[in-house]
């Protein structure tokens, strides 16, 4: 009789459990949570909600280019768990950098890029904020989120790790000093070698001088550059021009000391003259200095050249068919090229006015 009662109790208990399970499965079922590890040491979600005691099916997918694990800790224990993970030292790799301690509630081992893994667990019965974190060495400092165990239906169910929202774009003033033209950046920029220098001039004029080819590549009107991608370290980042290009050099090279042949050039650097860079380079072994300013009417550029050691005539070529007006301080212009005597070449100025900008201005 006693035995029978015990059996009955067990049966009743099992039935209870089953009915409870069924009820749970019928009403809301296991909650599926999907978390991804992204490039830049972050989870795609910084928060998700589950109800106390609910069944959770958690899938962790690593879509980044580094290995990551995922550890859910007891409330307030994230930093302690991260620090214990770092103390594993030699045992780290074989333990997936997950320390054996009570504060680690659930974990998913280190996943290589492209891998994913799911675990099932029953959420804690106590409400609270349960952190999750990647304890791979170095990652725990920045890569974490929160599992909220809550009855609250109204609060946000999950929160995306929206870096655009969390991190403002590079601000108006990205340096510890004001940006007043003229100033420059060494940049990767379309249409020039990766050794280019972009210069912001007064009057909304900017230009790209290519230290790889020792020549002015192009100039634009408008704002200067968006440097965000470069400064944020994006793959294949380049500086984006915030204006309209009004001049592009199409000559093989403008300055010729020996007509006909393509000159050999060598970049020597620049010095700042009232904060304007004066570029220094050699053309066929002869020193050339070039300083570019914007025209006061903001319709073009003024290029001041110095070739102090010129001892024979120098030719200066311009584009055959661009919508630019050229004015020269010296020399004889004929068929797209200017001929300067050795004496004239020691210092001369080329003023370039964009017909396009001038026309727009008339509007």
């Amino acid at each position: 009789m006693i035995v029978d009662l015990k059996r009955l109790q067990t049966l009743l208990f099992v039935l209870c459990i089953i009915s409870l399970q069924c009820k749970r499965n019928n009403s809301n079922g296991p909650v599926s949570i999907s978390i991804k590890a992204l490039d830049g040491l972050k989870f795609d979600k910084v928060r998700f909600n589950v109800k106390p005691g609910s069944k959770v099916s958690l899938t962790f997918e690593n879509v980044s280019d580094m290995p990551h694990n995922m550890v859910i800790t007891s409330p307030g224990a994230r930093e302690k768990v991260v620090s214990a993970g770092l103390q594993l030292e030699g045992k780290g790799p074989e333990m997936n950098f997950i320390p054996a301690m009570d504060e680690v509630l659930w974990s998913i081992p280190v996943l290589s890029p492209g891998q994913s893994k799911s675990i099932n667990f029953v959420a804690p019965s106590e409400t609270g904020v349960y952190p999750y974190v990647c304890t791979y060495p170095g990652h725990g400092f920045t890569m974490f989120g929160e599992m909220h165990v809550t009855m609250d239906e109204d609060s946000a169910q999950e929160e995306k790790n929206d870096s655009a929202a969390n991190k403002p774009k590079i601000s108006e003033n990205p340096h510890p000093y004001p940006l007043t033209p003229p100033y420059l950046y060494h940049v990767f920029i379309d249409g020039a070698t990766p050794a280019s220098i972009a210069v912001a001039l007064p009057n909304q004029i900017s230009y790209c001088w290519d230290a790889g080819t020792c020549s002015l590549r192009f100039a634009w009107k408008g704002d200067f550059l968006d440097m965000s991608d470069i400064w944020e370290g994006h793959f294949d980042a380049s500086a984006k021009i915030l204006g309209d290009i009004f001049f592009t050099d199409n000559t093989a090279f403008p300055i010729r000391l020996n007509p006909g042949s393509n000159p050999g050039v060598k970049y020597k650097g620049y010095r700042l003259v009232d904060r304007y860079p004066e570029f220094h380079y050699q053309v066929d072994g002869v020193d050339v200095y070039e300083l570019i300013t914007s025209k006061a009417d903001s319709l073009g550029l003024v290029r001041e050249f110095r070739i102090p050691n010129a001892n024979k005539p120098v030719w200066y070529y311009v584009n055959a068919d661009d919508a630019m007006k050229y004015e020269f301080s010296a020399g004889a212009f004929d068929k797209n090229k200017l001929k300067l005597s050795a004496a004239e070449a020691k210092k001369f100025t080329v003023t370039m006015t964009s017909y396009h900008l001038a026309y727009k201005m008339k509007d």
Binding site: S64, P174, A195
Partner: protein
């Protein structure tokens, strides 16, 4: 639960906590970490630091600023700007520095003494740029004759190349078929260390580097370069770099005459393995360092503690500075690495190191793109109480000698159970296409028995006897509960010795 067991548990907990506190704070009497306030508006992603002769710090930052800092007045001042990813700086004098940036090595001079550079002279740009975002450049380091050395990163498989490049393009340096995980070198001297002689000529010096974000000399004019773990670099390494040697990553080989028309990625592994020079020290990945940076020799003659002449190396991935002790065995450097300082307020992102005239070690830190860490500058100050630490680990014909900074407590030190040694190796190979870039597999992992520990030199030296030492293995030693003679704890219990060559009776 009975009351007595509760008390027992409580006692155990208190013991545990007190133990972890003493372990963590073993260095507290010896070193402190201070954070240097950086100017408002500066994103202090530190690419280089050095000291000018007048004691000012000069530092460069990823957004192109070069700034000076006077430790006496705590004043920052702008020195130069507009550079691209400047990742190394060398102070020449109080008005002149040399900076390594993306397009060139540039000499910045303040010619009118207003504290700001006005001349940006091109020291050298005689190398290629494909425009791949990962073609970072490091250095310069200066030898005793005044030659400068720079190191060029390979391009990343995660990015492409630009339509206009600088320099000759050779696509043999990029693997076509399954090169998704291979860093590449399609323009001259990516993956090389180059030497700039005083006549301004840039010479290819040594090849085989992947991501050599650390270049520096020891006190005896030996050049050392760190490389970061991944394809062909099975765990991060410290190389003793000599002219014309090849250090293992094949991409750079295309810029050697005899390899010009070959595909180095698919050359026979035995051939690559035969021509490569082994690392002097390997940093076990995830254990010692995952992203080691600049090595710097302790030039302070004791002002920074008892490690004069040894190398300190920053670790980007966590709150650690690594210490390296080297010895020559059979004519080649090899040796051990040990965590020098963990935590104590030190942050992650430790990218650049420089000793100040007062003997403190300054640390330039960086967080950039996806790199873990914090941007800024900290300094580590030696407080004068020598730490209880391993001063030196050296190979003997029968095991290892450990020399401590202070005498050890003899009972615990004599117990061989207090020396747990594991040995393992990392395999030089092309990375499997499906293997994650940070995966570093250990091979032939086994426990190593210490058969005896003998104490000598007044308790400062322990000779461990080990049977069957094998070349090609890392010996990872974890110390048990060994204390100093006055009961103080040891600062660090983990030390890893890279055993390339055995000590024999002939090469002692």
């Amino acid at each position: 639960m009975k009351a007595s067991s509760k008390i027992l548990l409580l006692m155990f907990l208190v013991l545990l906590i007190s133990f972890s506190i003493t372990a963590q704070h073993a260095h507290d009497a010896s070193y402190s970490v201070e954070t240097i306030e950086t100017p408002k508006g500066l994103t202090a992603q530190t690419g280089g630091i050095d000291f000018m002769p007048d004691g000012r710090l000069v530092a460069c930052f990823m957004r192109g600023e070069v700034m000076t800092y006077n430790p006496a007045t705590k004043q920052w001042k702008l020195f130069a700007r507009g550079l691209s990813y400047p990742l190394g700086i060398l102070a020449v004098n109080n008005t002149e520095v040399v900076v390594m940036q993306t397009p060139n090595l540039v000499r910045l001079k303040d010619t009118n003494n207003d504290g700001e550079a006005d001349a940006y002279e091109n020291e050298t740009s005689d190398f290629g740029i494909s425009g791949n975002y990962h073609e970072f450049n490091y250095g310069p380091a200066r030898d005793k004759d005044g030659n400068l050395y720079i190191a060029l990163n390979c391009a990343s498989s995660g990015g492409g190349i630009r339509s206009i490049v600088r320099g000759e393009l050779n696509t043999n340096g990029r693997e076509g078929m399954d090169g998704r995980r291979q860093m590449f070198s399609v323009v001259p001297y990516r993956g090389w260390v180059l030497q700039l002689t005083r006549d301004g000529k840039l010479h290819p010096f040594a090849s085989g580097f992947r991501s050599p974000n650390g270049i520096g000399f020891d006190l005896n004019n030996n050049l050392f370069v760190t490389d970061n773990q991944s394809d062909w670099v099975p765990t991060s390494s410290l190389y003793h770099v000599r002219k014309d040697k090849f250090y293992g990553h094949p991409a750079s080989l295309v810029w050697r005459k005899e390899w010009k028309d070959r595909d180095p990625f698919n050359a026979p592994l035995e051939e690559l393995d035969r021509i490569r020079t082994r690392a002097a020290v390997l940093f076990p990945q995830g254990i010692m360092a995952s992203s080691p940076s600049q090595p710097i020799a302790d030039v302070t003659n004791g002002k920074f503690g008892p490690f004069a002449g040894q190398l300190f190396i920053g670790e980007i991935n966590r709150d650690r500075i690594v210490r390296v002790m080297l010895e020559k065995v059979d004519g080649e450097f090899q040796g051990a690495c040990v965590p020098f300082l963990d935590g104590h307020g030190l942050r992650a992102g430790n990218n650049r190191l420089a000793f100040a005239p007062d003997g403190s070690l300054w640390v330039g830190q960086i967080s950039f793109g996806g790199w873990p860490g914090t941007s800024g500058i900290q300094r580590i100050v030696y407080k004068g109480a020598p730490p209880m630490d391993i001063q030196k680990m050296s190979l003997t014909t029968t095991g290892f000698d450990l020399t401590f900074t202070q005498p050890v407590e003899q009972t615990s030190a004599a117990d061989v159970k207090n020396y747990k040694i594991r040995a393992y190796r990392y395999e030089y190979k092309k990375k499997d296409i499906n293997e994650g870039i940070d995966v570093a597999n250990q091979f032939d992992v086994h426990d190593v028995n210490v058969t005896s520990s003998k104490i000598s030199e007044g308790g400062k030296k322990i000779s461990l006897q080990i049977q069957n030492l094998k070349p090609g293995f890392i010996y990872e030693l974890t110390l048990g509960d060994i204390k100093s003679n006055d009961g103080g704890p040891i600062a660090n219990r983990l030390i890893c010795y890279t055993l390339n060559k055995l000590r024999t009776l002939n090469n002692q």
